[in-house]
Symmetry: C2
Subunit: 353 residues, 2 copies
């Protein structure tokens, strides 16, 4: 073999080794979120995911986080991911119910599954397959993006003693719960988190629901709307990671798995983090915020919510086979899972009150 | 520059690139588990973890799973990991209470935290730090390894109508719950899962608790002990991954994170998988296993268990500052978290019975 040939071969090996490394180094993604940069634990779920991806890939796969103050389109996440302006997004699937009704049930449903019930539906009971099926027409993959746990029913300026007290109120409440409230005579709207306090303070809205004590109290809602109602409408709110299909399919197998596992851990961790934040905030509520009045909607109001929910679901699923398929799957699974929840955790808690 | 020098430089670059890859390729670990190879979801938590590590590392980090039928030492996991015979183990921390009492509380405690409460204590409420502190003297790192959720109280041959019916029974029940049962007059023992059915069938034991419907029914216990009691003693049983400290510290930063995240996801997934399995099994219990008699311990028995638990804890923590520190941390956090659990999930379930 001539020296020049050896030189050429070695050069090629070196070049290939270097270029293989360089190629690996090129994955630089961006994620757009619906939230502000300090909306912990929504924001921390995203930074937690991005940090895991970076560390696990040895720095070869990084994801820049653009919060809503950067991209200015808190409710434009699905479109931006679909168009490839961002490789990924973090939002809540029910925000797109006006665009595609089939995406709504993957966040939560009024009187629906609790978080452990819903997680087991997603990962072992067919939920993930249905979610991919519903998102396929948008050329986007969707993954659970973190659960808030059972949400509080919201902040009201005045006590709600009857259905009449609800009529005519303007309330920020998204998802199907908003339709239930509209049926009861409220005017409902969705507003990005950054504008919630101002909207409530200025009277653009009379009431709102956001998440629970861990997130709500730092938002200051209690200063203008001190009646804090327990939940019925979002028993296990799951956010979503959205990923542009084309971009995902181009990843190496290792990076696909790194991303999948990082999203999954970040999602689970968010539920755990919010549980902790809620427990801590709740423990301080009586001493630090004595003016907050904890209330439960009166039974006639709750009964009217349940009836409206049932009626609207029947109307909504007419001529919507995929929506019906998703809701039927959720309801059939919930029936089984709820029996177990009652026998296990519920009875245990009851015996130890 | 002479051709030979160029050749030498290029050769060195190529050799370095190749040897760097080869060095990365060398991580081949083994994990020993307390369980048999088909004890889903305990066994699947481990294979799930190992599969994630392999995929995320692009095959450069693999972990061979040795179930108890291979290594023949189901309760020898801590020792084997400590001595470096295995880099990792998967077991339950309360199995070592005879060896080191401080390791006991990291699995579960009678009348203790539910799974979401305990997870939030581990990851955000100081639990992980206490667990590492307790395991440090064994030169082992410990991580949550999967939660069973609320466990059933166990299978009995005869109905338990009074404290007298419990006295003299031989029961398989590990952890602190075993000490509570001993205080009530039972003879308690721990037996590996593979020998449970035979022990019960042959009368070596009169009763046992294992996990819950998802795992128990396939074990066939109902054939010989049809009275199935609801739980009090293991409200959120967390298994543990154990990792030899020296071996872990030698991993690259990327592999450390890959392992940490894979263990965390596998642990969370196990809870979700067991929830699903329990819901499915529970839904079929009445139709497929009509001879199983679901029971709750009578109130005087439950009250005696609570009193024994309290008395024994006071005795146990005397002269044991670290055990006291761990239990105090759990109890203080549980008090806060339970108030939130009751306000959120418990009330929601109650309103929708």
């Amino acid at each position: 073999m001539k020296i020049t040939k050896v030189l050429g071969t070695l050069g090629l090996v070196a070049a290939l080794a270097i270029s293989a490394q360089a190629a690996e180094k090129k994955v630089r993604w961006k994620i757009a979120t619906t939230w502000g940069p300090t909306a912990v634990p929504f924001s921390s779920a995203v930074t937690n995911m991005a940090a895991m991806v970076e560390k696990m890939s040895g720095g070869k796969f990084t994801i820049r986080v653009d919060a809503s103050n950067k991209h200015k389109a808190p409710f434009g996440i699905l479109d931006m991911v679909k168009l490839g302006q961002y490789e990924m997004g973090h939002s809540a699937s029910y925000y797109w119910k006006g665009k595609d009704i089939n995406l709504m049930p993957f966040t939560t449903m009024p009187f629906g599954m609790t978080t452990p019930e819903q997680n087991s539906w997603f990962y072992y009971g067919g939920g993930m397959e249905l979610m991919q099926k519903a998102y396929a027409k948008h050329k986007v993959y969707s993954y659970p993006g973190g659960n808030t746990g059972n949400q509080m029913g919201g902040w009201f300026r005045k006590e709600i003693n009857s259905l009449d007290d609800l009529k005519g109120l303007k309330m920020r409440i998204p998802g199907f719960a908003g339709e239930v409230m509209a049926e009861l005579g409220l005017t409902v709207t969705n507003i990005p988190s950054g504008e919630l306090y101002t909207s409530l303070e200025r009277g653009t809205i009379d009431a709102l629901e956001w998440v629970g004590p861990g997130m709500d109290i730092r938002m200051g809602f209690y200063k203008v709307a001190p009646y804090y109602y327990t939940g019925w409408h979002e028993p296990g709110t799951e956010l979503q990671f959205l990923v542009n299909q084309k971009k995902f399919n181009k990843l190496s197998d290792a990076n696909k798995e790194i991303l999948r596992v990082a999203m999954r851990t970040a999602a689970y961790d968010m539920y755990t983090e919010n549980y902790y934040m809620s427990a801590e905030a709740w423990a301080k509520i009586k001493t630090d915020y004595p003016d907050i009045k904890i209330k439960t909607f009166p039974k006639p109001v709750m009964d009217a919510m349940k009836a409206a929910n049932k009626k609207l679901l029947a109307e909504k699923t007419k001529g919507q086979p995929m929506l019906k398929e998703i809701l039927d799957s959720q309801n059939a699974y919930m029936k089984k899972a709820r029996a177990w929840t009652i026998l296990s955790d519920f009875n245990y808690l009851k015996d130890n009150l």
